[in-house]
Amino acid sequence: MLTEFGKIFVFILLAAIFVVVALFVAKLIRPKRPTKEKLSIYECGEDPVGSPWVKFNIRFYVIALIFLIFDVEVVLLFPWALSYKEYGVYGFLVGLIFLLILTLGMAYEFRKGDIQWARPEPKAINLKKLFTKESQIDNSSEIKE
């Protein structure tokens, strides 16, 4: 007799066992002849330069904050999604209004350009001549600045 969470637990257990067994068996079988080249950090064939702990772009943090809000939204939608069918159109509308309110926030983010990646300020060249009409729409907020 297995509950649904029991099944998930079996999956987690199997995944953990798989990783441990695979690494352990590989450790038993593989030859170990380390050289300086093999032990160095692999960086796409380039010679590694500097520390790997680089400072992240601040833009990632804004995206993470936005992600967190929508993460909580998913948490709240989760019980709704399990039981809205029993209430027909009413239940559907409840979720729809909930999502519409949050879509307002998403629209705000888009309008303010928070989702857009911070790019270096464009140099003093005539962008309108460089871009075609389509890419002008994509970069419209940047051109305005």
């Binding site: 809000i69 709240l76 039981s83 309110i101 926030g105 705000y108 303010k112």
Partner: protein, 165 residues
């Protein structure tokens, strides 16, 4: 000791061991990543206790969201290129006394409380009932939560936004 107890002790061991790594690891990144495992173990305990929604929230919000914020916080605020991100141990004696007193208090409460246990083999799931309540009785609160999230979203974005002049 049945299977349920075995799984409980497994999750408890995962939680405690990874929590020990969190406080003892010298590298703050290792601490942050073992905190993921701690949150995960706690989620497992919640689900074992029949609080399935709390467990799912724990995984979604803490393992998914809070950890990302924490890691980004570490990676953004440290001057990583110049400063070594390592932590030290200070004030061992006062903290040992404080922890000892707290542990004694918790253990004594644990021993002297008369625990009431309800033997149920498979606890009922709570998420579905919660959804029904959110749609019927607490529908206004449900929509207000959306507005709260909207306020948080706009507030977070406008605070974190780089000043554009």
């Amino acid at each position: 000791m049945n299977l349920y107890d075995l799984i409980f002790y497994l999750f408890a061991a995962v939680t405690l061991l990874s929590a020990a790594v969190v406080v003892s690891s010298k590298n703050i990144i290792y601490s942050a990543f073992s905190l993921v495992l701690t949150f995960f173990g706690v989620a497992g305990l919640y689900i074992l206790l029949g609080a399935d929604f709390i467990g799912v929230v724990q995984i979604l919000v803490y393992v998914g969201g809070i950890m990302i914020l924490l890691l980004f916080g570490v990676m953004l605020t440290n001057k990583i290129t110049s400063v070594d991100i390592r932590t030290g141990t200070v004030n061992v004696l006062p903290s040992a006394i404080a922890i000892g007193v707290f542990m004694g208090l918790v253990t004594s409460i644990m021993i002297w409380t008369k625990w009431v246990s309800f033997p149920t083999e498979t606890p009922l799931t709570t998420t579905n009932e919660l959804g029904k309540l959110l749609i019927t009785e607490y529908v206004l609160i449900f929509e207000l939560l959306a507005i709260l999230l909207l306020v948080a979203l706009i507030g977070a974005a406008s605070i974190a936004r780089r000043d554009k002049e």
